[in-house]
């Protein structure tokens, strides 16, 4: 049963990745990336890594999708076709298709897959990686930290700096989304479609609204009655 679930989720993951490459509308690619994030979070859950699945859901399917959509709403959603296409490469006077890169890639991938056959089994308690700090965490966490859950004591105490770094990353993402959202709300209240200076003025106004001071005191924004004057 585990094999069936793992196989199905990995197959759907591959199909989603191919779909992201295939679609030309960028909004559709962002939606498929959201599905990719849900699938990988499901895989993490099947592998018993619940905290990683939490982070993947919150960052991948929530914040990352919204941030990419904010970018697309400012930039535009059509994929520009390249001006030229590599049909063939002339090498030493003869033109042939680029076979060498794909041969190199397949060969390297095959060598790497062959190398994984020597690795110890997944989750085996006799693994070398489980003999170093893991026994110390499991044995000493009870009377050193005092929390019944070993995962919490590892995350919050033994590896506290890692957790602080992750929290900083998520906080930065949230601040970025807030700035983008406030800029879009100001632009909508003006009712114009001009890009360029309008966007810079709006971003400056959004920054002022969020932090109470402008980036450049000499850059005067449009006159408004107050920070909540918009609000579509």
């Amino acid at each position: 049963m585990e094999l069936f679930i793992n196989f199905t989720l990995l197959a759907l993951l591959a199909v989603t990745a191919l779909g992201v490459l295939h679609v030309t509308n960028l909004f559709a690619a962002v939606m498929l990336a959201g599905i990719y994030s849900f699938l990988s979070a499901g895989l993490f859950t099947v592998m018993d890594a619940v905290d990683v699945a939490f982070t993947e859901a919150a960052v991948g399917a929530g914040i990352s999708t919204v941030l990419m959509l904010a970018t697309l709403a400012l930039v535009g959603s059509k994929v520009t076709t390249p001006e030229f296409r590599i049909e063939s490469i002339s090498v030493k006077g003869r033109s042939r298709r680029p076979l060498l890169p794909i041969v190199v890639v397949v060969f390297t991938g095959g060598i790497l897959a062959y190398g994984t056959l020597d690795m110890p089994g997944y989750g085996d308690p006799d693994n070398p990686v489980h003999q170093h700090v893991a026994p110390h965490y499991l044995e000493e966490s009870g009377h050193e930290i005092g929390i019944p859950n070993v995962v919490t004591s590892v995350l919050a105490s033994y590896r506290g700096y890692d957790t602080m770094g992750e929290t900083t990353v998520v906080f930065t993402a949230a601040v970025g989304v807030m700035i983008l959202l406030s800029a879009l709300r100001r632009r909508d209240s003006y009712g114009e479609e001009a890009w360029g200076d309008e966007v810079i003025d709006d971003m400056d106004v959004g920054f002022k609204d969020a932090f109470g001071e402008t980036m450049d005191p000499g850059l005067a924004g449009p006159e408004r009655e107050g920070p909540e004057g918009g609000g579509g």
């Binding site: 939606m31 498929l32 599905i35 099947v46 859901a57 709403a73």
Partner: protein
């Protein structure tokens, strides 16, 4: 019985993905992603009972929240962003 429910939920996820890949308009894809999120919630709940560890339900609750907020944020951008405003400026309501 959990095996039947798991297979049914995985089949529903596959169909949602087919709609996400096929859907001619963007809103079809938003619908597919929303449905995929709720199926993921169901899959986590059923998998928890299948493996005998139903302690993952906090994760299912979080997914339900994230999916809901994400869908509403996506639709808000579609309404006030590039697509919706261009239609508004042409004179339609």
């Amino acid at each position: 019985m959990f095996i039947v429910a798991t297979i049914a939920v995985v089949v529903a996820m596959t169909f949602a993905m087919v709609r996400a890949l096929l859907g001619p308009t963007v809103y079809d894809r938003v619908l597919a992603v929303n449905m995929f999120g709720t199926k993921t919630v169901l899959l986590i709940a059923v998998l928890g009972f299948l493996t005998g560890r139903p302690d993952f339900l906090d994760l299912a609750l979080l997914y339900a929240l994230i999916n809901f907020i994400g869908t509403l944020a996506v639709l808000k951008f579609f309404e006030y962003g590039d697509l919706g405003r261009r239609v508004d400026s042409e004179g339609e309501a």
